[in-house]
């Protein structure tokens, strides 16, 4: 028993202490995947706040956006033109979703809207594979002038390897969050968005067009998805296998709260780092691979203690 306690409670920390460079590397890897989770969760939050739709298709929008970008480039479109076209595609998608899915389903229960976004997921998978082919593709990282090399940071009696693309991802994510924050706080449309998030009917009564707001948030989520897709695609390939990873955004949301942008960021980072530490230092005790469910377990434990999440509004009714 004492031996078991030692391997669970003492040994992992001894390992962290004796190999500090490796520990930093693990933290960094966790941070990077955390940023990507956070970006997906951000898309969820934007849509949930404005329309109370739990958009299951956010993960697929990431892949769809990245796939369109790579696919267009393969057809001979220059990288940055393709990027611009992708933004237009995401706009078209937002308009189409609002017209064809959200508007006819207005006032339906949440579960119905949720199911509709799952239907949208299947539709987008089929469409993306039909148009651009089903095989995994390589992201056009260098064509987009994104860095591909790595820095080796000699420190702590060892080395920490930092991929330049990961650093770029962190910078771009931070910039995007900053832009969103400014748009939300300082512009007219941002004020309208916040009004809609607070109270649909009150917003309608002061003359805010809900339909426009929906298109705007879906478009914003689409742009976030495009950025996420580029970053993620640069780390691995672009393929629909990413959808499972995208489900990780759910525990992130639970942790951060469904309606909070800072919550999504913090939740993403906590989940990303937490599951990486868990996998590397404790996973071996259970045979490895605990990454696939650790995030959900963390979220579950969290739910029992603080159901509204770190930053969420208290919207859960007591049961």
């Amino acid at each position: 028993m004492g031996g078991l306690l030692h391997t669970v409670l003492v040994d992992p920390f001894v390992q962290m202490w004796t190999l500090p460079d490796f520990f930093v590397q693990v933290l960094w890897e966790g941070l990077v995947s955390g940023i990507l989770y956070a970006l997906i969760a951000l898309g969820f939050v934007l849509i949930f706040k404005a329309s109370a739709v739990f958009n299951f298709a956010q993960g697929i929008m990431v892949v769809f956006a990245a796939l369109s970008l790579v696919g267009l480039h393969r057809l001979g479109v220059p990288a940055f033109v393709a990027l611009g076209l992708c933004v237009l595609i995401m706009l078209a998608l937002a308009v189409a979703v609002e017209r064809l899915v959200l508007r006819p389903l207005v006032n339906q229960p949440d579960i119905i809207l949720f199911m509709a976004t799952i239907g949208l997921t299947y539709f987008l998978i089929g469409l993306g594979e039909l148009v651009f082919g089903g095989e995994p593709k390589v992201m056009i990282t260098s064509e987009l002038l994104l860095p591909t090399g790595s820095y080796v940071w000699e420190t702590l009696g060892g080395r920490v390897i930092l991929q330049q693309i990961d650093i770029a991802a962190a910078v771009i994510a931070a910039a995007m969050v900053a832009v969103l924050a400014v748009v939300f706080q300082r512009t007219k449309i941002g004020r309208a968005l916040r009004a809609v998030a607070d109270d649909h009917q009150a917003a309608l009564s002061v003359g805010i067009a809900l339909e426009t707001i929906w298109v705007v948030v879906w478009f914003a989520a689409g742009v976030v998805a495009l950025a996420t897709g580029i970053m993620w695609g640069a780390r691995s390939d672009v393929s629909f296998a990413l959808q499972i990873v995208a489900l990780k955004a759910l525990p992130v949301l639970v942790l951060g709260g469904l309606t909070s942008v800072p919550g999504a960021i913090m939740g993403g980072l906590i989940i990303g780092i937490g599951e990486k530490l868990g996998e590397i230092y404790w996973g071996g005790l259970l045979g490895g691979g605990i990454e696939s469910w650790l995030a959900y377990l963390i979220a579950l434990a969290f739910l029992l203690v603080r159901p509204q999440g770190l930053f969420g509004e208290r919207i859960i009714e007591r049961v």
């Binding site: 199911m115 539709f123 691979g289 979220a299």
Partner: protein, 358 residues
């Protein structure tokens, strides 16, 4: 004209409370059962039985299971696939540890294991609901998935990691394994599904089902009039997981013949969820319709180009069928958010006044 209950008077409470109070319904059901038990096995090809009817029955049972939880008790679960897996692995272990006991007994017992696991992961439902509960059940899904992969004891240390169904007999006829004919497997499955549907239909009409619906409709009011949320919700999880577990065991033993963890993945959970929603929340008949819609449609879509004499690449068909299913789900939700069951109700209503609607 054809479908009119005028003149059918009830003279006892028993008659008034019958599952099918209308004579035409009883005749219709008898006809369906006749077709299912006689015509399909006699005239159905082995392809038709294997790729359509058998999976359809398996998924119908799983859909009923999830519908009991989601449609009647109002608790959202995304862990159906994993609960089916628990049933399948439990049945496999039972069948290999006690090879002499009949496989049907094992199938029914395996549901109990699923029920136990279901209750365990249903515990958070006491504090949370809606999407938050969905995340909790996702934890069940991924954790159990991982167990199926990483606990070699579950698959008897088979290096391939798959569970393979041994041949099991009843009265000298092979029920499972490669030698069992599709007709035998179909008939066993059909009998089990009919019996379990009958049990479920009585369950939801009795006090258990009513207390589930009370919890679903308004939990605080239910609590006030004396429904205890804790046992009621856990019972819903237990019964639902039992049905899913049995469906999982049947899926492996009577349909696939062997299975690996991906058969019980999150995609299976979604598939069953679709079936519930498309069929209609809180309707047993709808569960069958939903299962038929979601399962048989893609099979048809795959077979369609060939029937029309067009050659389309296999992959393209796959993509198109994804698009069509995705679009159809949205269309059905827009046209009738209450699913096929409500369409059927509307149809019956129209039929009552046909041909002179007023």
């Amino acid at each position: 004209m054809l479908y009119r209950e005028t003149g059918q008077f009830k003279t006892s409470y028993a008659a008034d409370q019958a599952v099918f109070p209308i004579r035409q319904d009883r005749i219709g059901l008898a006809l369906i059962l006749l077709v299912a038990f006689l015509l399909v096995p006699v005239f159905g090809s082995s392809f038709f039985l294997n790729t359509m009817m058998i999976p359809f029955l398996v998924f119908s049972l799983a859909t009923i299971g999830l519908n009991l939880l989601l449609g009647y008790a109002g608790q959202l679960s995304l862990g159906t696939g994993a609960f089916m897996g628990v049933g399948a692995y439990a049945c496999y272990k039972l069948a290999t540890i006690f090879p002499d006991i009949n496989i049907l007994v094992h199938t029914l017992l395996s549901g109990l294991f699923a029920a136990g696991i279901g209750v365990l992961f249903g515990l958070p439902s006491l504090r949370i609901k809606g999407f938050y509960l969905a995340v909790a059940t996702l934890a069940a899904q991924f954790f159990l998935d991982w167990c199926f992969n990483r606990l070699p004891w579950l698959y008897n240390y088979n290096p391939s990691g798959a569970i393979e169904v041994p041949t099991r007999m009843l009265f000298g006829v092979a029920l499972t394994g490669p030698n069992a004919t599709p007709v035998t497997r179909y008939l066993v499955l059909l009998t089990l599904v009919v019996v379990m549907t009958w049990i479920a239909s009585n369950l939801v009409r009795g006090w258990i089902g009513r207390s589930w619906m009370m919890i679903r409709d308004m939990d605080i009011a239910a609590e006030l009039i004396g429904v205890r949320p804790l046992p009621t919700k856990l019972l819903a999880f237990a019964v639902s997981s039992y049905y899913c577990g049995v469906a999982g065991a049947l899926m492996v033993f009577f349909w696939l013949g062997a299975a690996e963890p991906p058969s019980f993945s999150i995609n299976t959970s979604f598939q069953v969820l679709f079936m519930v929603i498309i069929g209609g929340l809180g309707s047993l008949a709808g569960s069958f319709m939903g299962a038929a819609f979601i399962w048989i449609l893609p099979v048809l879509l795959r077979a369609l180009p060939e029937m029309l004499g067009v050659t389309i690449a296999a992959a393209t068909v796959e993509h198109v069928s994804l698009i069509v299913i995705g679009a159809l789900i949205i269309v059905v939700l827009i046209v009738e958010p209450h699913g096929c069951a409500r369409l059927w109700q509307t149809a019956k209503q129209k039929l009552r006044t046909w041909p002179f609607p007023y």
